[in-house]
Subunit: 178 residues, 4 copies
């Protein structure tokens, strides 16, 4: 029985829309969390510029420091504990370090039945959608589009370039073990 | 010289994304307003249920009452005045009464050089995007998708079903007289 | 008959809360607009750093350039037109240039019955509230608290330091001519 | 060493502002989570009307069903796991069942060093602030103001009726063991 669905993709690839659609198409209720929730939970002082927190460069690059890494590990430990306590969880993540990020995530989710999902999007299209959204630092879509999939292994991959989020969600749902 | 761009389309057809992209691709700076801004400006008591304000039905239908109509006329008068004062304006609107809405809008914009743009989207796709957004009353996309274009005459039409907002914006920009 | 209520005060002085309460306590429905709405309407490229748009310094200072000034004049012309068309309007503003800002605003509102309201707040308390909100650039509250009232003449003044927004709204409403 | 700070108070009592201020005044970085985050994580279908999820009555009353209770238990288990993994956590909660809610929360946080904080606010003032915020269901402030403290035992209590959030945060911080 699938207990956790991990959606990995770059900024503006459409992960959140797919996660919301998954909540609609899956028969049981699932909780939806995002690495953005962790950023939201941080003290203001650690966001934007602090070398120990999370900082955003002029070209959309994201750098994370020691405090962020520690908080991220604790956060993932907690999300895994929610799943072990019986809540099915969709995690919307960005593997900034590709395979190494997946390895870290995998160790936190040890013992859980995880469905690994790659959310791909043509970089050019992700950049266009970033412009249309207008609420993300310019350049994040471009800098993350390929990087986050580097060396990552998936159970299922979807591509939002020409497939709507709802159809991607249906394709993913077909791999969820009830 | 185009002074006002009116984007008309149903809920979740992608108007706001196109408007933001237009602001990026057009050479001069343009202001962007939406009929949603008027709803936001209303007293809380007129939103949601009041027969004189704006109310939302179970199937996503939108009903507007006398106060809303009066405020809408005043708002449109004001937006037209901004354009006459020299600010190029993109209006993101929903012609709930189709041709009659266009007629009313046209009379408010009298004397201005207006580009009328139809933003179409396959109803099924708009409904899917409504699910992915998760922040609009369910049913609005379906109930408005065709209705808002009924009898409306456009200078240019775009279809977001299979074209990204940025490409739609470029197609529209080609019709803007500098 | 009062047609426009102008609330002037520094960042985090509580203007928006008072405006919402005014919409509740006033017998007729009023529309509520804020100078923040204009910032929201600007192209992304004019916000944050552009010398012709609106930019925010490290100490919370706000600088506005030529494009912003022109758009602001057009926007105020439009809001005045809404009031002349019959919609009672509450404007939530920040007179960055004190008396000169009021003079500019007064000329846009010529012929309208305007109630000028000063929204004061002890600088120290405004700074504390800025911290509690967490959504404004740090320093804006401090830098604007006194500056925006410099040389401005009011019909009524309220102080949110020790009076709730709703009570301030009631005090203002007593000066509104029905 | 304090590992978890639980802020309990009714809607519009000022918990979130205090939590943000705590993040500023405490020497180490703390994460901030709210029961609202759980509501945000739920499928849309469980919010607003579903008897198994969380529903909101006309008078501001909040009812939670079986699914919500189960998810809440899993969520709290997860937040406790984050604290055990080393992240200091501020939880912003609403004890709808008073002492029984505290008992449930206490069992989830077993073994952790918890500071229990009561955030009080005169019901009349909380109601006024609810009006000023304009983003909460009317009536929640009134219905929760006293109820949530019923039988609850605190290490420290603050009252936002006449004390700013930042000062409340400083009073709480004095009880945090470093």
């Amino acid at each position: 029985m699938t207990q956790v669905i991990v959606l990995n993709g770059g900024s503006s690839s459409g992960k959140t829309g797919i996660a919301r659609c998954l909540q609609t198409v899956l028969p049981r209720p699932w909780l939806r969390f995002s690495i953005d929730d962790l950023v939201e939970a941080l003290p203001q002082s650690l966001i934007g510029s602090d070398v120990q927190g999370i900082s955003f460069g002029d070209q959309g690059e994201v750098d994370v420091g020691e405090f962020f890494r520690e908080f991220e590990a604790a956060w993932m430990t907690g999300v895994a504990a929610m799943a072990r306590a019986g809540a099915p969880i969709i995690i919307d993540d960005v593997f900034l370090s590709g395979a190494a990020s997946q390895q870290r995530t995998r160790s936190h989710l040890a013992g859980l039945d995880v469905l690994w999902v790659g959310v791909r999007c043509d970089p050019e299209i992700a950049v266009a959608r970033e412009t249309a959204r207008g609420d993300r630092a310019t350049g994040m879509a471009a800098s993350q589009a390929l990087l986050v999939h580097d060396g990552v292994v998936y159970d299922v991959e979807v591509d939002t370039s020409r497939t709507e989020s709802l159809d991607c969600a249906r394709a993913i749902a077909a791999h969820v073990t009830p």
